[in-house]
């Protein structure tokens, strides 16, 4: 058994499978930076996944499908943002509602639309840098042979990081979460900024859901996210809402997930159920070690009442 080939495959799989999760987690992180706690990512990702799958099937184009998924995510993000700010909706309830509704809705629509068939997308998603990094052992081909969208995703994460920390708009966004009254007092519009943050987040996890169905798997099935939306919230917090850190933690999570496969291939006779607990236990341990005293934006989850509400 070729240990090098297997290791490359495991790492490559970790990079690919963590990609949708990473996009979702970064989207959540951006929203949380502005003070929005969104537990509806699971439902939103499913909607984006279903939407992009359906569009890709109809149009025959993966790219159009991806964009469609991003639009779905954007739409849901806007709904969340507007309801959470203008309507002072309780964010956790809203998020859980979106998750329940999205999960049930996509399952319902899928059954209605496709009955008892399981359509599959024809694959053939390009790998632009295939072979370029073969000179670097194990990790080289794992990175180099990835599909083009994986690179796009990482660029998006870097862009998100740059946006948050190096642009004025990003500063406003962070202020909306750190100190909304402060932002307002210098002339910023907290509501508008938060809705904008929700929209950006929506684009991120919209792409995440779309990529899961169209890039990673090539089909959609009810419940295909398997809890990725909730994991995204966890990873966003673990990464302290910083896109780059979140991306790296997500990658580590993906590697841990593939760990049990690797062990099984190597013939280690450990029960797969116990190994499957590893990534989740890892997150908890990570939080316990790194999460103590972490300052989440003080205004996280709280609706903003405007300066006038300060009595």
């Amino acid at each position: 058994m070729n240990v090098e080939a297997i290791s490359t495959a495991l790492i490559a799989a970790a990079i690919l499978t963590s990609m949708p999760l990473m996009l979702a987690a970064v989207g959540e992180a951006i929203g949380e930076r502005a003070g929005l706690l969104n537990l509806g990512i699971e439902g939103s990702m499913l909607c984006a996944a279903f939407g992009s799958f359906w569009i890709a099937l109809e149009t025959g184009s993966v790219t159009v499908g991806l964009l469609g998924g991003a639009v779905v995510g954007l739409g849901i993000g806007l709904v969340f943002g507007i309801l959470a700010t203008v309507f002072h909706a309780n964010q956790v309830v809203l998020g859980l509602g979106i998750t329940l509704g999205g999960t049930g809705g996509t399952a319902f629509l899928f059954r209605e639309g496709y009955g008892s068939t399981q359509p599959l997308l024809a694959l053939g998603i390009g790998r632009p840098f295939e072979g370029w990094l073969d000179w670097f052992p194990v990790i080289g081909p794992a990175i180099g042979d990835q599909r083009w969208f994986v690179f796009v995703a990482w660029i998006m994460v870097l862009a998100g990081h740059f946006f948050l920390w190096r642009t004025r708009a990003g500063l406003q966004l962070r202020a909306a979460g750190e100190s909304p009254f402060g932002l307002e007092s210098v002339g910023g519009n907290v509501t508008a900024v938060r809705i904008g943050a929700a929209a950006i987040g929506g684009v991120f996890y919209g792409f995440g859901g779309a990529a899961l169905s169209v890039i990673e798997l090539g089909f959609f099935s009810p419940g295909i996210t398997a809890g990725a939306g909730f994991l995204a919230v966890a990873l966003a917090m673990l990464g302290r809402l910083s896109p780059l850190r979140v991306g790296l933690f997500t990658l580590a999570f993906g590697l841990l997930t593939g760990f049990d496969t690797g062990l099984q291939i190597a013939g280690v006779n450990a029960r797969p159920e116990l190994l499957r607990m590893l990534p989740f236990a890892g997150v908890v341990i990570g939080l316990a070690i790194l999460g103590r005293g972490v300052r989440l934006p003080p205004a996280l989850g709280q609706p903003y009442g405007g300066i006038a509400s300060r009595r």
């Binding site: 990673e216 090539g218 099935s221």
Partner: protein, 372 residues
């Protein structure tokens, strides 16, 4: 017959193979059903004992969409119902919560027989039968069998899986074969062992990679795809996949791998339970371990009518309850002959296939056959 074939195009070969139905004795079980019908019809009104069976229901935990366990049971029962002129009611996606309300609902609509199509229903259905006096059929629970109330279907799929193992052993080019499962329920476990024994019988030096995706990961396609990609990287060129919905993940991994690859480098798939050959998913389907419930269903409906209901019905190679699907056109023609011989040997008892249903037993047996 095969020589004439070889001169034709691949497409024709495919059609030819299918037309000649390499399904040993397929027609005969069908024939059996019709014969039974013929015999039953005139004697029906004469027997004072006969119970009318007008409505039969089937309850499945997941949806037909998975084209696996749930679909096969439903499709087979529907066919039998059409042949015997019985109304069939399908309740899918019942899950593993308490299904008693569903069973009660069916009972109140005058259902005569309920097929509880999941090993997870092994306790709740016999209890319901005892309480309500309505006949039920369970799977993999021979201890629950009760005269007139509870019948059991045993899928001795390890025999057909043995044949699949023989096919894999003969068709593998790389010498590494993978078994990927979405859980370790008895149905999958029986097949894993049978497959391993079949593989071992023709190719004892092969490497067998056994991968469990998760605990009840029947719909976990993403992880199924990831795991399949890993076993392909480990060198497997034939994947025996048991997954229900998760199988699509495995198939997509294989479809992707095979893009722009020559036949020698391709990875092939052996499926279980259903027949995906006609769909997108069937492109690289080498064969499948088919479950054909029609014979069992026909038999027990007849017993319900005439008396004698409440037995263990074993689906085996002999009664064509389990069988191998036609081979794909890219399979080696010589394999057909070998498989036919092995099949005969199993049926007449020369070869005995182990029946191991628990997960620990599976691992022990795999370790014996293919020590690491």
């Amino acid at each position: 017959m095969v020589d004439a074939c070889a001169r034709q195009s691949r497409l024709d070969e495919d059609v030819f193979m299918k037309a000649h139905l390499f399904r040993p004795g397929r027609r005969s079980s069908w024939f059996h059903a019709l014969v039974l019908l013929f015999l039953a019809a005139p004697t029906g009104p004469v027997l004072a004992e006969e119970t009318a069976v007008d409505r039969v229901a089937i309850v499945t935990p997941a949806s037909r969409t998975n084209q696996g366990w749930d679909q096969q049971g439903v499709d087979n029962l529907v066919e039998v119902g059409e042949a015997l002129d019985i109304e069939i009611e399908v309740v899918e996606d019942a899950g593993y919560d308490d299904i008693t309300p569903i069973l009660n609902d069916l009972a109140s609509d005058g259902t005569d027989l309920i097929v509880c199509h999941a090993s997870g229903y092994q306790s709740v259905c016999p209890e319901f039968a005892q309480a309500m006096g309505i006949a039920v059929v369970v799977v993999e629970n021979p201890a629950a069998v009760t005269d007139g109330l509870v019948a059991d279907i045993e899928t001795q799929a390890q025999e057909a899986a043995y044949l699949a193992g023989v096919v894999a052993g003969l068709e593998t080019r790389s010498g590494t074969v993978a078994v990927v499962v979405s859980g370790e329920p008895p149905t999958w476990n029986f097949m894993t062992v049978g497959f391993a024994e079949g593989l071992h019988s023709v190719n004892p030096d092969a490497t067998l990679v056994y991968q469990v995706i998760g605990e009840a990961a029947y719909d976990d396609a993403p992880n199924a795809k990831r795991v399949t990609e890993s076993v392909i990287a480990a060198g497997a060129d034939i994947v025996f996949g048991m997954g229900d919905g998760a199988s699509f993940g495995m198939i997509q991994a294989i479809n992707e791998h095979n893009l722009d690859r020559e036949t020698e480098d391709q990875v092939w798939f052996i499926d279980v339970i259903g027949d995906k050959s006609g769909s997108d998913a069937g492109q690289y389907l080498l064969t499948s371990v088919l479950f054909d419930y029609r014979g069992a269903y026909t038999e027990l409906i007849q017993q319900l009518k005439d008396g004698g209901f409440g037995e263990v019905h074993t689906m085996s190679l002999e009664n064509e309850g389990v069988l191998l699907l036609d081979f794909a056109s890219f399979a080696d023609p010589g394999t057909l002959g070998t498989v036919e011989e092995v099949r005969a040997q199993i049926v007449n008892g020369e070869i005995a296939v182990s029946a191991i249903g628990d997960a620990d037993g599976v691992r022990a047996r795999l370790e014996e056959l293919f020590p690491r």
